[in-house]
Amino acid sequence: MAKDRSNAEDYTAPVRRLAVAIVVLCLISVFVVWRIDSPRVERFRTEITDRIVPSFDWAMSPVTATAHLISDFRSYQRIYDQNQELKRELQQMKAWKEAALQLEQENARLLDLNKVRLDPKFTHVTGVVMADSGSPFRQSVLLNVGRRDGIMDGWATMDGLGLVGRISGVGETTSRVVLLTDASSRLPITIQPSGVRAILAGDNTARPPLDLIENRDALRPGDRVFSSGDGDVFPAGILVGEVIQDQGGRLRVRLVADYERLEFVRVLRSHQIEDINNPGALIVPEIAPGAVLGPSPADARADTDGASNG
């Protein structure tokens, strides 16, 4: 078909094309800058989120509350079954409670003998989940606590049962928690009772797989997984979950934190974490080769294990 373009269009067409080119160039350059200097752009993203999302909050909280109410109401329909199940579980728990009480007394005696002081680092700030990542490709939540509450990048978060993720991006009134299930999350862990070290590598599934396992043969499904604190970016000894084996024989972790419904999240204060300002320095430390990397015993051991220069 012949196009009946008017004269006006002949003038505007090149201008249009130029405008498109400029817009695309701007967007691509933002992406390139993000790829090169991601902390800076992520800070910009955090500031924007900090401005916009809290202003949605008046509408968000009621809608979320209503949705939760509906799903709660659905669960009332199964209330009899749940009641029976709870009774059975309570029976088992009573037995465990006895065991726990005895162990607690024993533990208190032993701690007293050793003059152990519990880690004072573990005070916490509790935040409410305001929003999630907004897409199924990323796993993160936005908390209603931020810089004004003293939150800092890199702090661990847990939901009372187990580790949830780490703070990544702090705005004035909000902060983002990258969950352990996110594809970019990597967490150094220790597996008890064997003491094997590994990396918990999030892959956007509910059960993240274990990676870089020291000694696979020492692991059994059901082993407990704790954060190891390697690399000084995370406090050690926080419960993460237990080891399970999937159908493919791959070892994964069932997280103890209740990811189905994150409402309140504890942010653990820790003051010794490494300050991550320069992304390159994480991979290649700006220290002369041969020098001891850090004060932590884990690093020192890794050095002497790994190389002859120690």
Binding site: R35, M130, G134, D182
Partner: protein, 183 residues
């Protein structure tokens, strides 16, 4: 389905633009609701994309570039996508559609839908390729494919709803706007 006489008054155009902004913000807002924090195995269609596609295919004059680019970039920032990647693809795809909008208005609906489908598929292929090459963490290809299929299937629904709710239809050849310019 096309309305024989498309509405061209300035009031209608600005109302539709405001509607587009409100709809995009509302969709971002529903995405952000923390209803499911566990990883999901399903995904919905990308409604912001399909609304932009339908409206641009039918009335390229209503949704201009200066509206599309900021809305998608805002989506990138708020929905934790790599900033700029999705919006670049969206701007290129909507401009490809806009260039063909004049031809689209002579086509039957199925042909219009297939042109949009080809552009949308190219969009997703480019997005997935760029992500795999340039972004340091992986994206789930199966989820993305599911989203593409659902987005494609949504096109006729959104086209029908836009026509029913706001009377958004194609302009007739030779139709002029309020200032006498050919649309």
């Amino acid at each position: 389905m096309a309305n024989p006489v498309a509405q061209t008054s300035a009031g209608y155009i600005w109302a539709m633009r405001a509607g587009y902004i409100a709809l995009s913000l509302a969709l971002i807002f529903t995405h952000l609701l923390p209803l499911e924090t566990a990883p999901r195995r399903w995904i919905g269609p990308d409604l912001i994309l399909v609304v932009s596609f339908v409206w641009i295919a039918r009335r390229p004059d209503i949704i201009p570039l200066w509206l599309v680019a900021p809305m998608f970039f805002l989506g990138d920032l708020l929905l934790q996508r790599p900033p700029g990647l999705w919006s670049t693809c969206a701007v290129l795809a909507t401009e490809a559609l806009r260039m063909r909008a004049e031809d689209l208005r002579d086509m039957v609906f199925v042909l219009e839908w297939s042109v949009a489908a080809v552009i949308l598929i190219a969009f997703y292929i480019v997005y997935f390729t760029l992500w795999s090459l340039l972004v340091p963490f992986d994206i789930s290809g199966s989820l993305l494919t599911l989203q593409l299929v659902l987005t494609l299937l949504c096109y006729p629904v959104v086209a029908g709803l836009s026509w029913l709710v706001s009377g958004l239809g194609k302009t007739a050849p030779g139709q002029v706007d309020a200032k006498g310019r050919v649309l």
